[in-house]
């Protein structure tokens, strides 16, 4: 499991733990002191990323699909998650 901490400028602390296998996200946890409304959405976002190819467009598309259901995130953005994941190998 890889782990990267990222302080979002003007936002909160994002800690991402993930397993990457063959260029795909095998497992991911998005941790930190941010806010997500409704809170359950974080698990949906994590699940939606399982098996996701490690490229920006795919990651953003999957996260934004969940957000578009009426989820508010305060303290980080889909972009931030993608940037952190892309630093993993």
């Amino acid at each position: 499991m890889q782990m990267i901490d990222y302080k979002v400028p003007g936002g909160k602390l994002l800690r991402i733990k993930a397993e990457i296998q063959d260029g795909k996200i095998d497992k991911v946890m998005i941790l930190g002191d941010f806010f997500v409304h409704p809170e359950d959405a974080i698990e949906e976002i994590e699940k939606s990323l399982y098996g996701c190819p490690l490229n920006k467009n795919d990651i953003l598309e999957r996260i934004n699909r969940i957000i578009s259901r009426g989820v508010s995130i305060i303290g980080f953005s889909a972009e931030d998650v993608a940037e952190v994941l892309l630093q993993m190998k």
């Binding site: 901490d5 936002g11 941790l31 002191d33 941010f34 806010f35 409304h37 409704p38 809170e39 305060i74």
Partner: protein, 259 residues
Amino acid sequence: MVIRLDRFRLIPFSVNNAFKNMAIDEAIMIAVSEGTVLPTLRFYRWEPSAISIGTFQSMTDEVDVEKCKELGVDVVRRITGGGAVYHDKKGEVTYSIAVPLGHRLAPSDILESYKIICSGIIEGLKSLGIHAEFSPINDVIVNGKKISGNAQTRRKGVLLQHGTVLVDFDPETMFSLLKVPDEKIRDKKIKLVRKRVTSIRHELGKMLPLEHVAKQLRKSFQEALSIDLVEDGLTSYELKLAEKIAAERYQNHDWNFRR
């Protein structure tokens, strides 16, 4: 000008352990959602001292659980986001407020609602002679230093916000219980947090009884939020519900260590 005074129930300053405190907040939120009680403002403190973590944090990443056990400090995961907080039994007043969504105190704009509710804290500090201001996203600061942290959830058509007011602050104890990325930087962290966090005691140069602070906050919330407080207890339904929620959620290892 006519000021609309909404009636709110006030649950007066009381003390409970961490599990009960968090369960009561949740039980109130459910009762407000079901319409069986008025929107509610509550003041409390924590005994034993406790650490609460934000709902998206990892317990074992954030907290030295063994050390907490050793010192008799409870650990609990909140239902609200935000960060890890050390709730000192002698150094903090906590409030919670449960308001139906759409009420003028619970607009759909989340940042706006933090700002509105935090005005109760800012006015309370002002009445004690401390000039504080709101610092987005969810803090109240004095000269750039944090004195109050706040967190809210919106469930079942109700906004529940709880937050702290630091009356006394002990970073040594706090950092002996929280994990730091590297032991070598523990002292540095303590120094840094001293620069970034303050307390009523630090600002006034003297300690105030927690009851006194809670009383001031009660007045200031009433005035700043233009609400009419009706002092009352929890209903027997809420008490029963809180017991159930404490057992099923906040005292449950699976919940507290789920992330």
